[in-house]
Symmetry: C2
Subunit: 195 residues, 2 copies
DNA sequence: ACCTGAACACCGTTCAAGT
DNA sequence: ACCTGAACACCGTTCAAGT
């Protein structure tokens, strides 16, 4: 029996872990305080001892999702991919981080990682490019993840279908390398794009 | 007295117009079917004669927001700006279009406009670049709009503040020109960026 | 330190019935 | 063609009170 849904008492970490697991099962739209409470065998009001609002809980989940992004700078494409993959780790992870991100000012973990990679590659305007890159990655990942979910539920109009996510990796790489341009070694990104 | 909130009967267009006006007043989070109904002096259930679900109503609003985007191709930067400005016309317009967009497959109005502009500029991979550009514009506009709203309500931690949206225009232009690269005349976009 | 119980002010949606 | 009235199964949040 998992310790997550018996009648022991909980701390902030336990609540966050249960909420993150539930997010992956039901998605952001169905992640209610009442459902999280029910998963923990607790009344909904109990959650408000650990978090002052649902928004604060969601911000904590967004922090946990992005916390796995490596801080040591690899090249820009690798960094961008690791951000995207972190967002993909949990269902609706991209949408959650996107809608939470605006409340932090400037320096998120992901943005800082991108900025370091850009500087290492000798990019001009590294800070502004990092912001643009982050906006692209968040927008792209959110759209792709929504589409994945819509596909799996047959909610899309029938058609060519099949490889809906097929060209998306290429679009992602094309976008990242375009936004990372203005660096010393453009040639590398161009070469990687053809792999 | 406006014809929008008396007791006359309504059609699909009238409901959509009222909902769009209400969106601009209260924002997406507070745009409920019950509020829209109340604005129209009608029971909530009445809305379901015109739209089969809230999701369908929101999709209609997203279509109306993006319908003002010019179809005739200007240069890529101008097209991208007109998409962004259409999203900015209504409160939370970017978020609404972003969350609605995944359900359409491929060819949205905005994407088609970007693709035409790219082809006209002689871009390689015009279709894929158009998708990447659209993802950037939607991500960027959503983040900026959220920040604008958070700022106006003092929901952000105090700090440097003042010109929060100041550098964002530059980031937008930098992102668009980067993603439009690979065209015949790169020089033009570089020159525009310095203006 | 952590939780219950009850309440408040909301949601989206369905459906028979009215005009 | 368009709407009412009532109901169903939900929401987030607050707060006194319990242990």
């Amino acid at each position: 029996m998992s310790p997550d849904h018996n009648s022991t008492r909980h701390d902030r970490d336990g609540v966050a872990r249960a909420a993150l697991a539930l997010l992956d099962e039901v998605g952001l739209a169905d992640l209610s305080m009442r459902r999280i409470a029910s998963r923990l065998d607790v009344q909904p009001s109990a959650l408000y001892w650990h978090f002052s609002s649902k928004q604060e809980l969601l911000a904590e989940l967004a922090d946990r999702i992005t916390s796995t992004i490596p801080s040591d700078a690899a090249d820009v494409l690798t960094t961008a991919r690791s951000i995207r993959d972190a967002l993909f780790t949990y269902r609706d992870g991209a949408e959650l981080v996107l809608s939470t991100y605006a409340l932090q000012l400037g320096s998120s973990h992901a943005q800082a990682a991108l900025e370091r990679s850009l500087r290492r590659q000798g990019s001009a305007d590294a800070e502004e490019r990092a912001v643009a890159l982050l906006h692209f990655v968040l927008g792209h990942a959110t759209l792709v993840q929504q589409r994945m979910h819509a596909d799996s539920h047959g909610a899309l109009p029938a058609g060519e279908a099949v490889d809906v996510t097929s060209g998306l990796d290429r679009i992602f790489d094309l976008g990242v390398t375009g936004l990372a341009a203005g660096t010393v070694d453009d040639g590398i990104s161009e070469r990687q794009l053809r792999s």
